[in-house]
Symmetry: C2
DNA sequence: TCGTAATTACGAAGAGCGTCGTACAATGGG
DNA sequence: CCCATTGTACGACGCTCTTCGTAATTACGA
């Protein structure tokens, strides 16, 4: 109802509010791990529509929200799109090296299983 | 029914059967993370009764099983007790450095939050 | 053999998760 | 102004999870 154009704000946990258990849980889902892996290799933030997951848009929205609310990613509106990016700095400050190891482990497992990522 | 004394066998996933998502999920529960943290600082394998968790024994058994079936720990009977130990070699071979980072992150978070582990 | 300590099995309650479908909202372009 | 694009809200379904209580199992020791 406010007159501002892009007032759509998204709730993010502050760095202090991020919990290890929440991050691990967020990463323990195959779809979300896939999202995070694609996001990690990207230089810039990506729109949700960039990710082509074998689930509906509703489900995709749900997974993005879980990732955001756990502190793994940051989301911001830009026009009709919503840009997503890893919160690398926050995660590395809280859990040094953790994300890198998870990404590396995911890549190794993908190779090992012959699947992709 | 067999005449052997300690035939009680426990099903463990082979190294190849361990999945990253399963490991992350297993570690995403506070109780299980607590168990793994205590196990990590121990030199030898520990009995279930060593761990004093704020849940009942039934629940503790459940968590140990989740950890075993995800490949995080190994369990073996010895008398009336059941000894538990981290599968460090398997985990490090599959996901190099991952467990160490998780343990380190858990310790950092415990310090940060003033809780313990 | 009997008792005790350690752990499991089973069933159940309650909550949460992943998924979907449909209807809705916001933005930008013609 | 209308429409296409992008993403959300809501309700629902089935499944899994965490937790418990109680009964049962196993092994050791007296």
């Amino acid at each position: 109802m406010t007159t501002a154009t892009s007032t759509r704000e998204l709730a993010h946990p502050t760095r202090d509010e991020i919990r290890l258990e929440g991050v691990l849980h967020a990463l323990s889902d195959p779809m979300r791990l896939l999202i995070v892996r694609e996001m990690a290799v990207a230089e810039a933030d990506l729109a949700c529509s960039y990710f082509t997951l074998p689930v509906t848009k509703s489900t995709t929205t749900h997974h993005f929200r879980v990732l955001r609310e756990s502190g793994v990613i940051r989301q911001a509106y830009r026009g009709t799109a919503k840009l997503n990016g890893l919160r690398r700095e926050d995660l590395d400050a809280l859990f040094p090296g953790l994300i890198e190891r998870v990404l590396e482990a995911a890549a190794l497992e993908a190779d090992r299983l012959g699947t992709d990522g």
